[in-house]
């Protein structure tokens, strides 16, 4: 019985069910809205976790893929009037094609050089958003992006959108958990520790790194698609280097070597600023202090941190995944 409770399908189902129960408790559209953004961020960081934590490759350009996904669907639906059903695959397809083409030369680089290259690519995309004024509206952005209609239901409020986004989170999580527990996942972990050794096991390391890079860009594009049809307004500021850095920080804060770490880190860093609103102008200082404290006290990330026992419901057996 236990076996069925720990498959990637049931784990994803827990996350989805948990999220829906949470929504039912929270109810307030403001908090539900934050959880919608949390879901989008998680979709991106799961991909980034595969890339960083598993394959050991950094990307400081993830916001650009997020942006290409968002802008593509936004432009196709508003300027060309295409239906969302068409713009969805196109936005993903365009993003992963871009990732594929730039991934080939970029992933030959390592460490800080790779960080700089992905950062540079992200900045170039950001500049293009700013300068292609006829398409993107330039720095002022553009709005009136239509809502998503699925099975005849228009996703016109936070609750509906919440369920839609978290269903996708569950799917992304399911796929990613499957990957990490497969030959590909093991090959990625092998690349992270010992790229050379991985190749002596038959892993075509450059191809696999590229695949994960493309996959993570696809997840980012998916989140971008969701963002565009939720906020219905796009401007380049959302897709800046700052957001890329935040995403990497989320993964690192949660714990790089595990997908659940990405979930935890993203949750903490997405919700934290909302709590800190209470501190008004001091929020940036307190945010910095909390972030630095987490990294000093838990350099390997929050994942696996011991939660005080009284917060946990009693369980008979530990989970040994």
């Amino acid at each position: 019985m236990k076996k069925y409770l720990t498959t990637s399908f049931s784990k994803s189902a827990y996350v989805f069910t948990g999220a829906v129960i949470l929504m039912a408790i929270v109810r307030n559209p403001y908090h539900v809205g934050i959880l919608v953004f949390l879901g989008m961020n998680i979709i991106i960081t799961i991909g980034l976790s595969l890339l960083m934590g598993y394959a050991g490759q950094i990307s400081l350009g993830q916001a650009a893929f997020f942006g290409i996904g968002a802008y593509t669907t936004g432009i196709l639906t508003t300027k060309l009037g295409l239906p969302v059903a068409v713009s969805f695959p196109l936005s993903i397809l365009l993003t992963i094609s871009v990732a594929f083409v730039i991934g080939i030369p970029t992933l030959r680089l390592r460490g800080h050089y790779l960080a700089m290259a992905t950062l540079g690519l992200g900045e170039i995309v950001h500049i293009v958003f700013n300068e292609l004024i006829p398409l993107t509206g330039g720095p002022s952005g553009f709005g009136n992006i239509p809502l998503i209609r699925i099975f005849g239901i228009e996703l016109d409020n936070d609750y509906k959108y919440f369920i839609f986004v978290w269903a996708i989170v569950a799917i992304v999580l399911f796929l990613s958990l499957n990957i990490i527990n497969s030959r590909v996942g093991r090959a990625l972990k092998a690349i992270h520790k010992e790229e050379q050794t991985a190749s002596t096991l038959g892993v075509n390391t450059s191809r696999l790194k590229l695949s994960v890079f493309v996959l993570s860009s696809g997840f980012a594009a998916l989140a971008g698609f969701l963002y565009a049809h939720y906020v219905t307004f796009l401007s380049p500021g959302t897709f800046s280097l700052g957001f890329s850095i935040l995403l990497v920080t989320m993964v690192a804060v949660g714990g790089m070597e595990n997908i659940w770490g990405a979930l935890i880190g993203t949750t903490v860093l997405t919700l934290l600023p909302e709590y800190l609103r209470f501190f008004k102008d001091f929020d940036i200082l307190i945010y910095g202090i909390i972030l630095i404290s987490i990294m000093i006290l838990r350099p390997e990330g929050l994942y696996g941190i011991k939660i005080p026992g009284f917060l946990l419901p009693r369980s008979k057996k530990g989970d040994n995944e």
């Binding site: 559209p29 403001y30 004024i133 720095p139 949750t267 609103r277 369980s315 989970d319």
Partner: protein, 382 residues
């Protein structure tokens, strides 16, 4: 299971926090403010926030509105769309405000418009872009003068001074690109020829390359459309390159601190602005004089900081809202109607006349052309 539990714990804490919100039973009129208090546009957002809070204190000191105190909820958007969306949702759904003032930047206002429209909550924006009120949206108003009117006044002044070839500099921000667009659109109307059209990043530290290019043209004047600190740097760079053609700035130049930052290079800069910046030189006969003096005195004595036109936008927005509350009470539709019917309201930005088709309520005459003279803003003589 531990992992799932860990996540659940965080989320339960989150939901608990959301349920624990102070449920204030005291009767008050709740109004919200969303400003870029931190982040790159904070020099706009901070005076706006200060001004709004100052007015709320003033109103409450006089016994509130019809005996009901005013309660302000201020949120920081950091100038970021996602944060602004969250902030506006919080104000509407958690704090249950009757109306919102803000946001600071055009981009954030555009992003929150769908939310206030759906929640049917009046929003008075302090952002510049014309697209905020054009097309007119039922629940959205704004107090800053229109970019178009600023461009109108700049070109008008240039035409009067015999200038017909102009070089445009603008920052790649929402404000900069909106201004650039207006300058391009209106050029023909005023018989202007744009001989150079240069842009720069909002955080660039040096614009001599762009200005050198302009120097190589036969431009008779430069118009720079951006926000600080680029405005001061452009002036300094022009001085460095020995450029003697006049520099026109946008209404974004509305803070005397930029003049200080640019030093002597700021001398002679011409720009459109509300009359707030040159209160001393506004004749007593001007209907705005009283309001301008009042705001300037209050703000500068309270915050020990020179007054700026941006704070003025919040002053106008907050008073318009207060007037609407006086008439309509705690009724969002009533407030909206009341704002829409505001006529002859004398503010710092001009005399406002809202209507069903005009949710800005100001004309080009709201701008005065000012010039920097001995480190001070002075109304430009004809």
């Amino acid at each position: 299971m531990k992992r799932v539990m860990a996540i659940l714990t965080i989320l339960i804490a989150f939901s608990a926090a959301s349920c624990l919100e102070a449920k204030d039973k005291k009767q008050s009129y709740k109004i919200g403010g969303v400003f870029a208090i931190t982040g790159p546009a904070s020099f706009l957002g901070e005076p706006e926030r200060n001004t709004m809070l100052m007015i709320v204190d003033m109103v409450n000191a006089q016994g509130g509105i019809n005996g009901v105190p005013l309660e302000a909820f201020i949120e920081d958007s950091v100038g970021d769309e996602t944060k602004a969306v969250n902030a506006v949702k919080k104000l509407i759904n958690s704090d249950k405000v009757l109306a919102i003032i803000g946001t600071t930047r055009s981009g954030t206002t555009m992003a929150v418009i769908p939310i206030v429209e759906k929640a049917e909550t009046p929003l008075i924006s302090c952002a510049a872009a014309e697209t905020i009120v054009n097309p007119v949206r039922k629940w959205v108003f704004k107090t800053p003068q229109l970019d178009r009117h600023a461009a109108d006044r700049i070109y008008g002044t240039m035409r009067d001074r015999g200038i017909s070839r102009v070089a445009v500099m603008s920052a790649t921000t929402g404000f900069g690109s909106a201004g650039r667009e207006q300058l391009q659109n209106l050029a023909q109307t005023y018989g202007m020829k744009i001989v150079a059209d240069e842009t720069y990043g909002p955080k660039d530290t040096d614009m001599t390359a762009q200005l050198t290019k302009i120097k190589g043209t036969n431009a008779q004047a430069v118009v720079n459309w951006s926000i600080v600190p680029a405005q001061a740097i452009v002036a300094k760079n022009m001085r460095q390159l020995g450029m003697t053609i006049p520099l026109y700035q946008s209404h974004g130049f509305g803070n005397i601190k930029y003049v200080e930052a640019a030093g002597s290079a700021a001398e002679g800069i011409i720009f459109p602005a509300g009359r707030l910046l040159a209160v001393d030189t506004v004749p007593d006969s001007n209907p705005q004089k009283k309001v301008l003096v009042e705001y300037k005195t209050l703000y500068e004595s309270k915050f020990d900081d020179p007054v700026s036109t941006f704070g003025g936008h919040a002053w106008d927005a907050t008073w318009i809202l207060v007037e609407a509350l006086k008439k309509a009470g705690a009724d969002k539709e009533g407030i909206r109607k009341s704002i829409e019917n505001t006529k002859g309201f004398v503010g710092t930005g001009g005399v406002f006349n809202f209507s069903k088709t005009d949710h800005c309520g100001l004309g080009p005459e709201a701008f005065e052309m000012l010039v920097v003279n001995n480190g001070k803003f002075v109304v430009l003589g004809q």
